[in-house]
């Protein structure tokens, strides 16, 4: 069974009012995200034992091109689900108390995450994660790397590869991360917490 690129969970223009344009989503999803899936299928074309695995299994067991493509496929699906046209603002639900317990306030968490996302050098991702004891943390990963390989549970991701923001923000990653806070899908974050 070939791997598939899931469609966006919303229309291409769904996030434009909050700072991610239709053009951005079209390229990011249809070229970059879909491109990783195409490449993954090409790399596993002669490996039926790998085609039978889940993306998570590939992430945990593979290296090189297959790892990169599997991880980027997973990362982007996770990223899209973490954004919503009706998202943003203060967290609601279980995550709110956990953020406040760890950082003291939502604003302090926001600063920590923003700092990590803006200052990550090169391509990669900023993540809110939960460890095996339920403790929250903010981490960044390089290129395609994913925190599940360190035994962490991702709760929320921000793509800081330049392709994620170049169409709308050019070099201004800080402005992109600011817009990100108006889009965070806290329902998705709470779902990942369960």
């Amino acid at each position: 069974m070939p791997f598939v690129c899931p469609p966006l969970p919303y229309a291409y223009d769904a996030l434009k009012a909050k700072g991610l344009s239709e053009e951005c989503l079209k390229f990011h999803h249809d070229k970059h995200h879909a491109g990783y899936v195409t490449k993954l299928n090409a790399l596993t074309a002669d490996k039926p034992e790998l085609q039978a695995k889940s993306l998570e299994e590939l992430i945990k067991t593979q290296k090189g091109g297959i790892f990169n493509c599997a991880a980027q496929t997973w990362n982007h699906t996770f990223y899209w689900n973490g954004l919503s046209a009706t998202g943003g603002g203060e967290p609601t639900g279980a995550i709110k108390a956990k953020i406040e317990a760890k950082w003291g306030s939502f604003d302090k968490f926001k600063d920590a995450f923003t700092n990590t996302a803006v200052n990550h050098f090169g391509s990669g991702w900023a993540w809110l994660v939960k460890n095996s004891t339920g403790e929250l943390n903010v981490v960044d990963t390089h290129d395609a790397a994913n925190p599940i390989t360190d035994g962490l549970t991702p709760l929320l991701a921000c793509d800081v590869w330049e392709h994620a923001y170049y169409i709308d923000y050019k070099n201004d990653r800080a402005a992109y991360v600011k817009a990100f806070w108006n889009l965070v899908n806290w329902d998705f974050v709470n779902k990942n917490l369960e």
């Binding site: 390229f27 070229k31 090169g122 390089h142 395609a144 392709h163 170049y166 050019k170």
Partner: protein, 206 residues
């Protein structure tokens, strides 16, 4: 009444050997060049000067010395990143020329000797650059034994910290080509050859 002290900054954007406002025809648009040079490269220079102003040792070192001294020190990563990116971008601008140039015969002979032909070299370089996952640079280098090779570096890494002499580089950070080529890094590299300053490349041969 007060006096303005003009401080000479230790590091500066190099003056490009072609006008920034015209881009690098026929491949790099004025908008792409303006962003890359005045925003990205300039930001590395500004950050580097900030580090140097606060550190007597950095103040006394040349750019290459700073890069070599910080390359293996994880505590100095931000200094290394900005210094190396300043070097890399300055080198990149020198590798480019509006409407390109012809390959000098000495260099052509070296490319033939090492890669079979100039076209085979280009194909190999493009494949390496397209395969450079994430942000980084692709280089034609000269090894200590005089032979030529193609290497990829990641993020800010430079080949001379591994004893390799840079001859030519292509920036494959997405910011280098996103305005003009979007996700098409392959198209950017195919077009790259139209603007290479081969005389500069040849001048780097030892």
């Amino acid at each position: 009444m007060f006096r303005l002290a003009l401080v000479r900054l230790q590091h500066a954007l190099p003056t490009l050997p072609y006008p920034v406002q015209e881009g690098i025809p026929p491949v790099i648009s004025p908008k792409q060049l303006d962003l890359h040079y005045n925003k990205h490269h300039n930001a590395y220079v500004t950050k580097l000067n900030g580090f140097c102003a606060a550190d007597a040792k950095l103040k006394s070192q040349s750019l290459e010395e700073i890069i070599k001294a910080t390359a293996s020190d994880p505590t100095k990563k931000p200094v290394f990143n900005n210094a190396a990116q300043h070097y890399n971008h300055s080198f990149y601008w020198s590798c480019l020329k509006p409407n390109g140039s012809a390959v000098p015969s000495k260099l052509e002979a070296a490319l033939k000797a090492n890669f079979g032909s100039v076209d085979e070299f280009k194909a190999k370089f493009e494949a390496s650059a397209v395969g450079n996952f994430g942000s980084g640079w692709t280089w034609l280098v000269q090894k200590p034994d005089g032979k030529l090779d193609i290497v990829n570096t990641s993020n800010a890494a430079v080949p001379f910290t591994d004893g390799l002499t840079p001859l030519l580089t292509a920036d494959v950070w997405e910011h280098a080509y996103y305005v003009d080529f979007l996700n098409r890094r392959d198209s950017y590299l195919q077009s790259f050859w139209k603007i290479v300053n081969w005389d500069f490349v040849a001048s780097n041969l030892k």
